[in-house]
């Protein structure tokens, strides 16, 4: 009731983006409705006479007139309404950009922020570690040690 009064005060302008639903349950978008509120509210004299012609037989209307009548009532056709945009390209581009930027940040961090890795990463240490694992037969059945040929002291081919 109040919403209707307010709409009338506002004037009969075309409300093309959203419609206030009575009861305040939220905003209903025009796109969601097959038949929204008429798009053009104030008709030119040409459009008015076309509207008069519409009261007669529709078969007498030309295709241009029919399209004109359609455009009076609806801003976009379904085809126009449903068309996609190229926005996804911007989104993917932005995505890659930030991946890259993050990568640069990580590289910088590695060089300038992080201290040295623990001594257990040294080559000599790792060799001893590997030997130790083989000596204690880590996963001998199907895992690590099963790949080592203990006879010939090399990895199995």
């Amino acid at each position: 009731m109040l919403a209707a009064r307010a709409l009338r005060l506002v004037g009969r302008r075309a409300i093309s983006t959203s419609v206030c639903v009575r009861g305040g349950h939220g905003v209903a978008k025009v796109d969601d409705y097959a038949l929204p509120i008429r798009y053009v509210q104030d008709l030119s004299s040409e459009q008015k006479s076309l509207k008069e012609k519409e009261k007669g037989s529709w078969a007498t209307l030309s295709n241009e007139e029919k399209i004109a009548l359609y455009r009076i009532s609806f801003n976009q056709s379904f085809a126009e309404m449903n068309q996609g945009s190229a926005q996804w390209k911007s989104v993917v581009a932005g995505m890659f950009f930030f991946f890259g930027l993050t990568g640069l940040v990580v590289l910088w961090q590695r060089k300038f922020v992080y201290g040295p890795v623990p001594h257990t990463f040294e080559k000599e240490w790792k060799e001893k570690e590997l030997q130790r694992m083989l000596d204690m037969r880590v996963n001998p059945v199907e895992g690590f040690s099963s790949q080592w040929d203990y006879e010939n002291k090399q990895w199995k081919k």
């Binding site: 409705y33 097959a34 038949l35 509207k51 519409e54 009261k55 037989s57 529709w58 078969a59 007498t60 209307l61 295709n63 029919k66 399209i67 009548l69 359609y70 009076i72 009532s73 609806f74 056709s77 379904f78 085809a79 126009e80 449903n82 068309q83």
Partner: protein, 135 residues
């Protein structure tokens, strides 16, 4: 458990729409058959003094359902458009129905075929004839 209950309920609903009178219903009400649904909507649009708001409301509600309306309902709606001198809405209804069919591309041509006589009688052009189905 909640999901299981929901699936069971959904299955019950599906089974029940195929029988005229539901013997079991979670909502304890009679379930409307397809024929009753169609008849109800045909009657709605057949109101002689239907007004523009009712046409809009009816169409928007109908399009909101998870179905493509039968040709006879659309026929009734198109005639309502004629009574209201609203060609734009008539064309829009055809567009909406095509959109509603989604991936089932064979529904729209079938409906146009069924509505052919009515479209010719009332002088309604299809969106394709007007070229507004393309950008």
């Amino acid at each position: 458990l909640l999901i299981a209950v929901f699936h069971y309920y959904a299955n019950c609903q599906q089974i029940m729409t195929r029988t005229p009178l539901a013997s079991r219903s979670f909502s304890h009400g009679k379930v409307e058959t397809d024929e009753e649904f169609d008849a109800r909507w045909v009657t709605y649009f057949s109101k002689p003094d239907i007004d523009a708001w009712e046409l809009k409301k009816g169409m928007n509600t109908l399009i909101g359902y998870d179905l493509v309306p039968e040709a006879k309902i659309l026929d009734s709606a198109l005639r309502a458009c004629r009574r209201l001198d609203d060609l734009a809405s008539a064309i829009r209804i055809l567009e909406a129905v095509k959109d509603k069919s989604g991936p089932h591309k064979d529904i729209y041509p079938y409906l146009i075929q069924e509505l052919g006589p009515t479209l010719a009688e009332l002088g309604i052009s299809t969106p394709e004839q007007l070229g507004i189905d393309k950008l």
